[in-house]
Amino acid sequence: MTEPHARRSRLSKRALRVWAWVAGGLAFFSPWVALGLSPKPVARSVQTYGQRPVIIIRRITRRVVVQDAARPTAPQIRYVGSSSSGASAVAPPVTTTSGSHP
């Protein structure tokens, strides 16, 4: 003789429908929540005014310092200034020296 099984309580159709709506809503909105909580990108270094980038031009200013060397420097070479200081009036340069430009 077998004992009768205890009957499992079942959710009503209405309760099931409510749970289905809640689960669907969570699944639908979770990407927006994740995006909203994620860290924002660092502000861009270029300042903007409206949609137009503002370009900051830095004028390079340099100061010439003539040092006394501990020992005499080579007599075959002399400093004659720069084109902006009036040296351009002396003679145009024959060629240019620079740091390994391709």
Binding site: R62, A69, A70, A74, I77, G99, H101
Partner: protein, 300 residues
């Protein structure tokens, strides 16, 4: 204005020019131009680390074993090892692993075509005393690679300038990417040479008047492929140099020596002006020089 002849071509990953007296015979200038190109082609085949068929590539590939080298290779290696000793190791021909680790693992034209970052952590330098050189035989320690870099270019400029004058030119200037040698019977007043601005490529920063010898410039803003990534490795750290000097322009009797001193100056800081003749540009905006500036127009 003095008439001049000019011949330009590319070699060793840079632009090369031969400048000569305009009164020199055209045939002599043509012969000199061919000879200069031949010298550069020959030395590039000897010293390029970007060519699979170069002598340098063969020597580096045989690290740990004795390798027979040409007399030119042995001469420049001996000169480099002597320079390393004189500079207390600041000039170091064994920075190749660090240079590759910093990202300079291919020809510079290819390097700037794509954004690069450092490839690996820095590698130790300073193993030049372990290199063995016996006549025309060389043995590198395992794990060590040679890179003559600018000194090979300076050495080639010296050879090319001598070759040009040997073809009958009164005087000649050979300039390879800014490293130049003046040879022959020069005009009494010498030549005015412009120094490029390290922060504004193509713009003139200063001028010097040179009556012989050679000039070389080293800069941390040239041959750079990223923030703090450039071709001048500080052997003390194995990293690209950061000494507060942006550019060093140095005079010497030969271009190979000027190259060594320019690198030494860039890695040493401004105190080096007690030992070399030149012009330094600092990161804080100063132009330091120990040259005779009695005739200069220096703004107050």
């Amino acid at each position: 204005m003095m008439e001049r002849r000019l011949h330009a071509f590319r070699s060793m990953g840079t632009s090369v020019s031969l400048i000569a007296d305009g009164r020199s015979p055209a045939e002599a200038f043509e012969r000199a131009a061919r000879h200069v190109e031949m010298v550069f082609a020959r030395e590039d085949l000897r010293f390029s680390r970007f060519r699979g068929d170069s002598e340098l590539t063969r020597v580096n590939a045989r690290a740990g074993r004795w390798t027979k080298v040409s007399s030119g290779f042995a001469t420049l290696l001996a000169y480099s090892l002597d320079a390393a000793a004189r500079s207390g190791g600041l000039f170091d021909p064994t920075v190749l692993p660090s240079l590759i680790a910093a990202g300079y693992d291919r020809d510079f034209d290819e390097l700037i075509a794509g954004a690069r970052d450092a490839l690996h952590p820095s590698e130790p330098c300073g193993r030049w005393p372990e290199i063995e050189l016996d006549g025309d035989l060389v043995r590198l320690p395992v794990g060590v690679g040679l890179d003559f870099g600018g000194i090979a270019k300076g050495w080639t400029v010296d050879l090319a300038a001598r070759a040009a004058v040997g073809e009958g030119l009164r005087w000649a200037i050979v300039n390879a990417g800014g490293d130049l040698r003046i040879a022959g019977s020069l005009p009494r007043e010498g030549f005015v040479i412009a120094i490029d601005d390290p922060e504004a490529s193509g713009e003139e920063l200063s001028r010097v008047r040179v009556a012989g010898g050679a000039l070389a410039t080293s800069s941390v803003t040239a041959r750079a492929w990223g923030p703090g990534l450039h071709h001048l490795i500080d052997p003390r750290t194995g990293l690209p140099a950061d000494t507060g000097i942006l550019q060093a322009t140095v005079w010497a009797e030969t271009c190979a020596e000027a190259e060594i001193r320019a690198k030494w100056a860039l890695l040493s800081g401004s105190d080096i002006l007690d030992h070399v003749s030149g012009v330094l540009v600092t990161a804080d905006g100063r132009i330091l020089t120990n040259l005779d500036a009695a005739d200069a127009e220096v703004p107050a």
